[in-house]
């Protein structure tokens, strides 16, 4: 187990903890972001080769796998859209309740 994998595991756990335990809507969003970043880190480290080169006209034979990086780029765009939508929903809810505490909301409890 190398360092990037451990780091992504740690990030994933922290994110899951945030979503499950925290009572504040914004902290839930941070948790989601952390989980997404951990997967991105995991995907990038999958394609990493020690001593590898940039895969654009390489000089040697060892190159970094470019496909996971392309996947991560796509995933980041999707995560951006999701996060923006989540924040806009929270703003709407905040206007209604004047609070971002999850336990004050009827359907989100439990």
């Amino acid at each position: 187990m190398s360092l990037p994998y451990l780091a992504s595991l740690a990030l994933f756990s922290i994110g899951l903890y945030c979503i499950l335990v925290k009572r504040d809507l914004f902290k839930v969003i941070y948790g989601i972001c952390l989980m997404e970043f951990s997967i991105n880190l995991f995907l990038v480290s999958l394609g990493f080769v020690t001593g590898g080169e940039v895969p654009i006209s390489p000089t040697g034979t060892i190159v970094v796998d470019p496909l996971p990086q392309a996947m991560v780029l796509t995933a980041i765009v999707i995560e951006f859209a999701t996060t923006v939508f989540l924040i806009s929903v929270v703003i709407r809810l905040f206007k209604q309740y004047e609070d971002t505490d999850i336990s004050k909301m009827r359907r989100l409890r439990g």
Binding site: I39, L46, P68, I78, T82, V89, V90, R92
Partner: protein, 493 residues
């Protein structure tokens, strides 16, 4: 060529709707309707070709698989595209009158078309990561549609939906990463070829992660909690689309991944799927019995019916797949019918609370008949379509020797009849203690209801058509080697 058109047409319609914007409400409707009509024509053409046993492929940018992204249509994908486009068309027709008070918001039509694009892309793609992208397109269009009315309840339902489906998407993405690291490819046919040769712990774990992602889309039991909030909160045509079709896209993904990509025999998950399916059947029906909110009631009924399909998928025999595919088709028709019928009732009285309804039979005889057709069909009463798909599932259970799931499935079927009759009694019979809000229900809302009711009756009266279609589809699903050969086309030895 025809496959890429199936994705580009709704996408263009969605973008065109954004461009038209607030300038013309009628033009937006016309664009959506015209594009879905074209989709129906193209999809039936694809369906006609593929049901003969052929598989159509298209390589995007002429990059050969497994390097390039490709689109694949076998008969199951073609059936799904046909379902998505025809129910999408009926929902758009229905929205013309139903959404009239909210027609000033131009995003509605465009989001609806984006969501249709995502669904069609998911069922047509032959690439695992591409499937994730199209699923996300579908999700991101569905989130604002769920919260469309903008009230507190809608916003909370939408928030819950986003949080849970984002977690599921993260799992799905992780699963894709693991599959890539184990096989070095993302093309589904190529993965199928490699996994056919060797399994392994990493791939099993990846399969579980992928199934968690798709299980949330189709609301299988531990992952079902968002559905009873999200489907009632959405505007009724969207509820019909979400319950009727979007949930089935998740089930399609499960069929594709379990049967085509991994091969059913190679993975020891049949039992888990059966247990989850039975749990889904029981929990959905149990909660449906006690609901008073009519749309929440239908949402729980959807969960229960998804359980039947999941159970049939877990059996893994050919008759099991036949039952599952037939029930996917039937439930899409029945549940859209029920949601749209209930939408007419809500349109007229302006409440979703069943305890406040009653005695509507005289004022709304057509809706009462349609509700009865849908309800009895879901319960599996003989001359209607639900009977045959449920019978296939029971037979598959019996043949494979799963007697306890069979007993539970039959018992819950009786329960289903009970809760639909209870709902019918609460809405249409009893004494009338409400004043009706508006005049007549507009024709554009009645036509989709009538069309769907006739479709339910027709499949029930002439079951041979449905049975022969599902038989061919199940044969094609089980013939993995043919899928692999057609897609890769001898590109790799």
């Amino acid at each position: 060529m025809i496959l890429i058109l199936l994705i580009i047409i709704p996408l263009l319609a969605a973008i065109l709707n954004v461009v038209i914007g607030k300038s013309s409400k009628k033009a937006r409707c016309a664009v959506s309707m015209a594009s879905t009509l074209v989709l129906i024509i193209l999809a039936s053409k694809v369906f006609k070709t593929t049901i003969g046993g052929d598989i159509i492929t298209y390589e995007i940018g002429n990059w050969k698989p497994p390097i390039g992204i490709n689109l694949v249509a076998d008969s199951l994908s073609a059936l799904m595209v046909l379902l998505i486009s025809s129910i999408g068309f009926l929902c758009i027709l229905y929205s013309i009158s139903y959404m009239r008070p909210h027609r000033g918001v131009p995003a509605y039509d465009s989001l609806l078309m984006f969501s249709i694009t995502g669904m069609i892309g998911t069922v047509l793609t032959g690439d695992l990561f591409n499937m994730f992208v199209f699923l996300e397109v579908m999700f991101i269009a569905a989130y604002p549609l769920v919260g469309f009315f903008g009230g507190v309840e809608e916003m909370e339902a939408s928030f819950k939906y986003v949080v849970l489906s984002t977690i599921a998407s993260v799992m799905f993405l992780l699963g894709i990463g693991l599959v890539y690291s184990a096989t070095g490819t993302l093309n589904m046919a190529h993965i199928a070829e490699i996994t056919g040769a060797r399994g392994g712990g990493l791939l099993d774990f990846a399969l579980i992660l992928l199934l968690i992602g798709l299980g949330l889309v189709s609301a299988i039991v531990p992952l079902h909690v968002w559905l009873p909030d999200a489907h009632p909160a959405a505007p009724t045509p969207i509820s019909a689309l979400l319950s009727g079709v979007t949930v089935k896209v998740g089930l399609y993904g499960m069929i594709r991944i379990i049967y085509t990509m991994f091969g059913f025999q190679a993975v020891p998950i049949g039992m888990i799927i059966i247990v989850l399916g039975v749990a889904t059947i029981i929990i959905g029906a149990g909660f449906a019995l006690v609901q008073t909110d009519i749309k929440r009631f239908l949402a729980y009924s959807t969960i229960s019916q998804v359980g039947y399909i999941t159970l049939a998928l877990g059996i893994g025999t050919q008759s099991g797949i036949e039952g599952a595919v037939f029930h996917i088709l039937n439930h899409a028709l029945m549940k859209s019918l029920l949601f749209l019928t209930v939408g007419c009732v809500i349109y007229k009285i302006g409440t979703r609370d069943m305890s406040k309804m009653g005695g509507l039979l005289k004022q709304m005889p057509l809706e009462a008949a349609a509700f009865l057709v849908g309800g009895l069909a879901i319960a599996g009463i003989p001359p209607l379509n639900g009977f045959f798909s449920k019978l296939l599932i029971y037979l598959a259970c019996f043949e494979a020797g799963y007697l306890i799931p069979l007993a539970i499935a039959i018992f819950v079927s009786l329960l289903t009849l009970a809760y639909y009759l209870r709902a019918f009694w609460m809405i249409f019979l009893g004494k009338n203690n409400i004043d009706l809000k508006k005049g007549r229900v507009p024709l554009s809302m009645l036509i989709p209801v009538i069309v769907l009711a006739i479709a339910c009756l027709l499949i029930g009266v002439l079951p041979d058509i449905g049975l022969s279609i599902t038989e061919r589809i199940s044969e094609q699903i089980l013939a993995r080697w043919m899928y692999i050969e057609k897609v890769l086309g001898g590109a790799i030895a």
